[in-house]
Amino acid sequence: MKAKEKYAEIFFLGCATVSILALLLIFLFLFANGLPAIGEIGLWNFLTGTSWRTADTPPSFGILPMIVGSLYMTAGAVLIGVPVGIFTAIFLAFMCPRWMYAFLKPAVNLLAGIPSVVYGFFGMVVIVPFVRTISLHLTGGGSGASILSAMILLGIMILPVVINISESALRAVPESYYQGALALGASHTRSVFFVVLPAAKSGVFASVILGLGRAVGETMAVVMVAGNQPRMPEGILRGARTLTANIVIEMGYATDLHRHALIATGIVLLIFILLINIIFTFITRRSRENA
């Protein structure tokens, strides 16, 4: 009887360590296959090279255009998604009539559940033609598959993350803050915006970081709307390529060094995500300590 209990505990521990094992394997396989390529290309050339021409002789593998492309589109997504998300969270937490909440909250969850291909397809048939029209008026050309299209689409896609996490951060602020503000003569709106919102700032900030992570890591939706030209971004009405898109577009036919350079692109992406995760953990830990 005792032995059985002991074995069971060891078995459960074994299952629990699968997470660690999986993480180690992901790093192992990516680094083992990607690092040699970085060595061959040269870390500096790889990270700061501005041209990605895999068919040339000799080929050039510089991923700076993709790094900048990812940064552009992520920044745009945050610029669009975060204000809308935070205000919607405030609306849900403090201004929404109950009957409307019962409708709006599931709507936000539905937005979170829509697959990225569906978003990408929507972007392709609605946002891209819309941006094409703008682009025609402004510059007299452009296909619409552009950084701007990706920004708009990613802005919508990060909404649920920003809304849900900000909303719970706002709700976690003690009721007394709000009541105290009211007692001092502040209006409802003022209390919410100038007392409760600042008190929830680390949670709200955490939601932004998480949204950032979503935007950097998004692949299929971006591929479908961003144009994907591997060149340095030349304005938001022109196309550009992200790190994620680089992998998905070329992995199907890449061989040898090209293929390993794509895996190395994955390593760079992974490091970006890790940095974002570390910042996120840091913020949530600090907010937990403050609470």
């Binding site: 009887m1 059985k4 209990e5 069971a8 505990e9 078995f11 459960f12 521990l13 299952c15 629990a16 699968v18 997470s19 660690i20 999986a22 993480l23 394997l25 992901i26 396989f29 990516l30 809308v84 998300g85 205000f87 919607t88 609306f91 201004m95 709006l104 599931p106 709507a107 936000v108 969850n109 539905l110 937005l111 559940g113 829509i114 697959p115 990225s116 291909v117 569906v118 990408g120 397809f121 929507f122 392709m124 048939v125 609605v126 919508i156 909404l159 209006s187 709106t189 003022r190 692949t219 299929m220 994620t244 992998i247 998905v248 992995m251 895996i263 992406l269 992974l270 995500i273 995760n277």
Partner: protein, 274 residues
């Protein structure tokens, strides 16, 4: 009493909330209006041909992927959570390590999972582009979801249940499997449903692990495409836009079903704890 800034912020809040709702409604209505008319019976015929891009094989394959992945991820996730909640001593180092690893896994983008699955399952293990490679990759991907929700579910089981079990002379294993786990089922189910949503919506992790062949796989080592991958493949070809709309309708319906199911379960849980 109302100052301009109050009115301004008030309008801004309502406006942005409306914008969120409008975005969602626009996406859904647009897809439904353009998709439903193209949901013809031929799209559900048993075989996929280049003339009739039937989504039937993709639907069956999606079910296979979901079942196979859950079969691996759910027991593994539940056992892992049992360890984390029931067996661990307070302040143990290994738990912090496991938690951080799980959190980190949750943040990794699906395209990186795709690369990993390709390198490990497809090539290193030699499974090729197949049902099994895809499912194994998805298993690693949804493991954090299952662990996190199961952990919450187990934690919410009151301590008195366990103590009652021990007091009656039951061993730890018995208490865990006969008392704690059954009371945690709704919470675990919520996690499983969330995981199904992730699997159904996934594309980037599957393209280079499961391939994109539109067939019903007969063996674990055969390639297959899920509905999401099917839709991606269709939208890449300009002349299949209508069929892509129709597939989007089915995907939206699945998501709607999943969200409804998890809302119902959430209501069950809160009703129980009250």
């Amino acid at each position: 009493m109302r100052k301009p800034i109050d009115i301004f912020l008030f309008c801004l809040t309502w406006g942005f909330a409306a914008l969120t709702l409008i975005s969602l409604l626009f996406i859904i209505i647009h897809v439904l209006i353009n998709g439903i008319p193209h949901l013809t019976p031929t799209l559900f015929e048993r075989r996929f041909t280049t003339d009739n891009v039937s989504m039937f094989p993709a639907i069956i394959s999606t079910i296979f992927f979901v079942l196979l992945t859950l079969l691996m991820a759910v027991p593994l996730g539940i056992f892992a959570s049992i360890y984390l909640v029931e067996y661990v001593k307070k302040g143990s180092k290994i738990v912090t390590l496991i938690r951080s690893a799980t959190e980190m896994l949750a943040g990794i983008p699906s395209v990186v999972y795709g690369l990993f699955g390709m390198l490990m399952f497809v090539e290193f293990f030699g499974f090729g582009w197949s049902l099994i490679s895809g499912s194994l990759t998805l298993t690693v991907m949804i493991l954090p979801v299952v662990i996190r929700t199961t952990e919450e579910a187990l934690k919410s089981v009151q301590g008195g249940y366990r103590e009652g079990g021990f007091a009656l002379g039951a061993g730890k294993l018995r208490v865990v499997f006969r008392i704690v786990l059954p009371s945690a089922i709704p919470g675990i189910l919520a996690g499983v449903i969330l995981a199904i949503g992730r699997i159904v919506g996934e594309t980037a992790a599957l393209i280079f692990t499961a391939g994109t062949i539109p067939q019903v796989p007969q063996e674990l080592t055969q390639s297959a495409r899920t509905l999401a991958v099917h839709m991606w493949a269709l939208s890449a070809e300009a002349h299949h836009t209508n069929e892509a709309y129709a597939t989007a309708v089915i995907l939206l319906l699945i998501v709607l079903g999943i969200n409804t199911a998890s809302a119902v379960i959430a209501r069950l849980i809160t009703a129980k704890t009250k």
